[in-house]
C-alpha cells in the first residue's frame, strides 16, 4: 500500500461509455428525425396558411368583392373569352352618373386592376386611366363570368409547390 490510499474504482469503464454513447447517438438520431419531420410538416402547414398564394388569393377576393359590390349592373362588360371584366361605379354619393371604372385582367401571371374615370358627356375624351395596380401574382388561370346580376371570378394560383382555387361571386347593385 503506497502513501496514497487505494481507492476503489467506481466510475464507468470505456465499454460502458461506448455503449452509453452508442445508445445516446441512436436516441439523438431518432429525436432528430422526429424533429426534422415535424419541422417539414410545420413548414407545409405554415405555407398553406401564410404563403404568397394564400395571402394573394385573399387579397384578390377582397378586392374583387369590394369593387364589384359597389358597381352598377348598368355598366358591366365581360370579355367573350372570360379573360377580363370591366365594371362601372359611382365615385362619390354626389356623382350624377357612373364616373369611375375598374377593369380586372390578367397580365402574364399577374392579376391586375386598372382604375380610371369616365366622362360619357365628353365624346372626345370619354375615358382615362388613373392607375393600374397589381393585386396578386402566381396566377395560373382566371375566369370571369356573369350570371344574372352576379359576377364570378374563378382564380387559380399556383407557385409550383402551392396551388389554390379562389372562387367568388359578387352582386352588382341595380342602380
Amino acid at each position: 500500500m503506497s502513501q496514497y490510499k487505494r481507492q476503489r474504482k467506481n466510475g464507468f469503464t470505456t465499454v460502458d461509455v461506448a455503449i452509453a454513447g452508442l445508445i445516446l447517438i441512436i436516441a439523438m438520431l431518432s429525436i432528430g428525425q422526429i424533429l426534422s419531420e415535424s419541422q417539414k410538416g410545420w413548414n407545409l402547414i405554415y405555407n398553406r396558411m401564410y404563403s404568397e398564394v394564400v395571402t394573394g388569393g385573399h387579397i384578390a377576393k377582397r378586392t374583387f368583392d369590394s369593387i364589384v359590390r359597389k358597381s352598377s349592373s348598368k355598366g358591366i362588360t365581360i370579355d367573350p373569352d372570360s379573360k377580363w371584366v370591366e365594371v362601372h361605379y359611382y365615385d362619390t354619393d354626389g356623382s350624377s352618373f357612373l364616373d369611375r371604372y375598374a377593369k380586372f385582367f390578367v397580365s402574364g401571371n399577374l392579376l391586375r386592376v386598372e382604375r380610371g374615370w369616365l366622362n360619357p358627356n365628353d365624346a372626345a375624351n370619354p375615358k382615362g386611366t388613373i392607375a393600374t395596380d397589381t393585386i396578386c401574382g402566381n396566377v395560373n388561370k382566371c375566369i370571369f363570368k356573369q350570371s344574372g346580376n352576379s359576377v364570378h371570378m374563378m382564380l387559380t394560383l399556383n407557385t409550383g409547390t402551392e396551388k389554390m382555387l379562389i372562387g367568388t361571386s359578387a352582386i352588382l347593385h341595380n342602380n
Partner: protein, 170 residues
C-alpha cells in the same frame, strides 16, 4: 459527455488527507435528465402537431365559408329563382356535381344538393328556399365538410350556414 472518471480526477501530488472526489452523475440522474428531455421533445411535437392541425382546419373552414358566400351571391344575383342550377353556372370552372338529397330545414323547399371539390378536398352544399310573402324569398345555403374527409354529407362534422333574403322583381 456528462460522466467523470474518478481515477483521472485524483491529482497524484495531493496528500491523502486533502484528496477530494468530484461527484459525478449517477445513472439515475442521467435517466431523469433523459426523461425530462424526452418530455420536452414530445411536448414540443404535440404543440406543433396541434398548431398544424388547427391551421389546416382553419384553412378548410375558410374555403367552406368562401363556397357558401359564392353560392349565396350567385343565387341572389339570379334573383333567388327556384330554377337556379349552380352546376350549370359554375361548370367547368368549378368541380361541382349533383349529389344525393341532404334535405332542407323545416318550412324550406330543397333546391338541390351538390358535391364540390376544391383543391382536392370534398365539400357538400345543400340549397333550399322559402317563400316569405310580399315577394320576398329566403335563401338558405349549408356547406358542410368533414375534417376526416367523409364519404357523404351525412358524415360531415362541420358546416357553415347562410341565409339571405331576396325580393322578387315585380
Amino acid at each position: 459527455m456528462p460522466f467523470y472518471f474518478y481515477n483521472l480526477k485524483i491529482r497524484q501530488e495531493e496528500p491523502m488527507n486533502t484528496q477530494k472526489t468530484r461527484s459525478a452523475f449517477t445513472i439515475v440522474e442521467a435517466m431523469i435528465a433523459a426523461v425530462v428531455l424526452v418530455i420536452a421533445v414530445i411536448g414540443t411535437s404535440v404543440y406543433r402537431y396541434q398548431a398544424a392541425l388547427g391551421a389546416r382546419h382553419a384553412d378548410l373552414y375558410s374555403t367552406g365559408v368562401r363556397l357558401s358566400l359564392m353560392l349565396c351571391e350567385g343565387w341572389s344575383g339570379e334573383g333567388g329563382t327556384t330554377s337556379y342550377d349552380p352546376v350549370t353556372t359554375f361548370t367547368p370552372d368549378l368541380d361541382i356535381i349533383d349529389t344525393n338529397s341532404a334535405g332542407a330545414p323545416t318550412g324550406f323547399t330543397e333546391l338541390g344538393s351538390y358535391e364540390i371539390i376544391v383543391d382536392g378536398f370534398k365539400y357538400y352544399a345543400a340549397l333550399s328556399w322559402k317563400n316569405m310573402g310580399n315577394k320576398i324569398t329566403s335563401l338558405h345555403i349549408v356547406v358542410s365538410w368533414d375534417y376526416r374527409e367523409g364519404t357523404n354529407q351525412n358524415s360531415s362534422n362541420q358546416s357553415y350556414r347562410l341565409t339571405t333574403y331576396v325580393k322578387t322583381p315585380s
